[in-house]
Symmetry: C2
Subunit: 429 residues, 2 copies
């Protein structure tokens, strides 16, 4: 079969008839499948069930420093949990503040503090005429929602397989002191799966910023979320803390992470890691907001994951479940769409997403068609600020939730919808 | 023995010598006792240990609405937890948002939203030239810390056994649109133990406020924390939600509460209850901050406390441990200080504190003396905004943490220090 672009109108019409017939069959099957969000599957959740037995009524509930984890106290986390989250965030326990159940809340609260109080002596951001933020695209919709909530103007910056376009980032950051920060998912990025190259990390750390209080929100959500247990098939990312310190900008970054996709999403432990000056500032503000976070859940996690030493083994089990799903997605895309040559997609080695680009102007139509056949995708546009993908081409594929056989059926539908939308567009042109 | 005020100088000097000798003996004993914070005792924490067995690896982890509590989702809480927290907050489940581990965080976040975004269409408070807040005194230091964090000017209002001085509250609230709210601990107030009279609640709900966005932060921290299981010996408080609705000010209040002093402080569940309009507004803002809170902990609590039906029985066990401690405190104060007539104190029927008033100008000295004899009290001044008790007379006594025998020893020290400070003052005059 030739590329769609090389087909005659008659050939396109024949193909359309076949694809539409297949689509109609799928609609008739009355499927209900979901590839919308990066939710772990039931099989993944079962991996952490033994954690619920770690703390029972007979357990020792005293942390190693003598803290009774059943009572008030400890603003920044018990030592065991600090070590766990330091392992996850590639940092020292002293630089870690253990928080509540979600890194999303940690990031929102960090942004709220910057708006209300400023940082390291600079003016509160809500007193400024404008605050702007760089958003590598495609990116994570919940990051964009935080900016929108605070009225922060988002500026998209193109991502490639090495991270954001650093020429563009450097130009924007140097030119405008209203540009106060950037979202980064440095490893297995949401949704492209790209991992930042060392040079990208170094340039982020060292670039001249017009705003002295420029901040990198380093959302290392997929820090240990490899598909393979073989180190040679895992991505690594340079430590932003070390890079910033070496570049003489030690306070430029805030690292965020959680165990949401390690143990139980929503019932895990989150943390921020930062420079000593930023840790002190955050704790000073937090002192009015909290007495301490859930130390029993900290203890439960620290013991279950052996304070970080058990992470690799536990994540290998996740990888063994996730790897085949991503393999399936990429294989089906390849089988169905390579010949037609109407789309491109990423092939990550970890994380939760495949980023898919169809023909410009088809993403909304593809998602609509899939919905019509019972397959829910992430909304088209969600990977761009304000939900506005100017090319209307990008779709985030989230293969984690459905079991393999359902995923296979969902990819059948998705690929058929891509072809249908592409053919409709070519014939309408 | 006569009242100290009626003693001659010679009598005072004799008494001082005796009291000082007793104090010196106490110092020599090298005690280390703590009556500083409202922390439950080890015996109280043990009451909730069975809760740690509620969810194990074999438990049903699905909420009644089909939600898998192990995975993402549910912004406002699973139905079981909403019913539990509605029982605690004397409200309907539909008006409840179940939150994280602490009502303190719930209150801080609520204040942060008012500062950043305003409420029900009114201007964000941080855009106003001044925001003022009424603080019934003596009151709770962490409430004051929240105001200080946001630069809110605090205005003390006198408390009596029926609640805040409502003539003064009404005058201040009607006169100045910068007065945006009031802290209330309506039942077994921190630290006086007073419960608001029905008439006080009705006046708070109905009073004319210059600020249309005036808000009552209704911190019902001790809603079910009675010493007696006998209803005739328990305080009740009128529902502020009903009172506000009846008065035509349905959005004036926000109710806060948590299970911190029911199960495990810091590992419990908090909630806010509010009018439908406020619930909708809070959820709209929270949508950027959270996907959902810890549903496993919600499920654990809902099952352990039988969705609220088990609260009374569980709290009776707490009361059986707390009651004797408060009885001891009040008995020792009575035995040691009534004749000298140098102090007054409250005798609450629930909650966590006794409010003590020594002679004006002695509170700091008493706390200092107690510290010197190994007994840590809540800092003098802590019960007033900015730590500034103008009379320097009020001290919060927190009897919950020490076992009875330690509490007895601590009260020995405390009463001795009160007499010593009073005598020093009388002789210096």
């Amino acid at each position: 079969m030739p590329r769609y672009a090389d087909m005659s109108k008659a050939e396109l019409e024949t193909e359309l008839a076949q694809v539409r017939a297949r689509y109609d069959e799928m609609v008739a099957r009355g499927l209900s499948l979901n590839m919308a969000r990066g939710k772990p599957s039931a099989a993944q959740l079962e991996l952490s069930l033994p954690m619920l037995d770690v703390l029972d009524a007979d357990a020792d509930l005293i942390a190693e420093d003598g803290t009774d984890c059943r009572n008030y106290g400890v603003l920044d986390g018990i030592p065991e949990a600090k070590r766990l989250m330091a392992a996850l965030l590639d940092d020292e326990p002293d630089n870690v503040i253990v928080l509540g159940n979600a890194s999303l809340t940690a990031m929102y609260d960090a942004m709220a503090r910057l708006m209300l109080f400023g940082t390291q002596g600079a003016a509160p951001w809500n007193q400024l005429p404008a605050v702007k933020w760089l958003c590598p695209v495609p990116g994570y919709d919940r990051h964009f929602t935080i900016c929108e909530a605070f009225g922060i103007e988002m500026i998209p910056v193109t991502m490639d397989e090495h991270g954001p376009d650093m020429d563009e980032v450097e130009r924007l950051v140097a030119a405008d002191e209203a540009v106060k920060g950037i979202w980064c998912v440095p490893k297995y990025s949401n949704p492209t799966g790209a991992t930042y190259a060392d040079e990208v990390v170094r340039r982020l750390a060292a670039m001249d910023a017009a705003a002295p209080d420029f901040r990198i929100f380093w959302d290392n959500a997929y820090a240990v979320h490899h598909f393979s247990a073989d180190a040679s098939e895992q991505d690594t990312v340079l430590d932003i803390a070390v890079a910033c310190a070496e570049a003489g900008n030690p306070d430029r970054y805030l690292k965020f992470g959680s165990t949401s996709k390690i143990t139980f999403p929503g019932a895990g432990v989150a943390a921020v890691a930062a420079s000593p000056a930023n840790v002190a500032e955050i704790k000073r503000h937090m002192n009015a907001q909290a007495i301490g976070h859930d130390k029993l859940n900290q203890l439960r996690h620290a013991r279950f994951l052996n304070e970080g030493a058990g992470l690799a083994e536990h994540m290998a089990r996740h990888g063994a479940l996730m790897g085949p799903k991503f393999e399936l997605v990429c294989r089906r895309l390849d089988e169905e769409l390579t010949e037609a040559a109407v789309a491109t997609w990423t092939t990550p080695r970890g994380g939760y997403f495949v980023s898919f680009d169809g023909p410009d102007g088809t993403a909304r139509r593809i998602v609509e068609l899939a919905k019509g056949a019972g397959v829910t995708m992430t909304g088209a546009g969600a990977t761009w600020p304000y939900g506005n993908d100017p090319a209307d081409g990008n779709i985030r594929i989230a293969p984690s939730l459905p079991p393999l056989e359902e995923l296979d059926a969902a990819m059948d539908v998705f690929c058929c919808c891509v072809k249908l939308a592409a053919l409709e567009q070519l014939l309408a042109a």
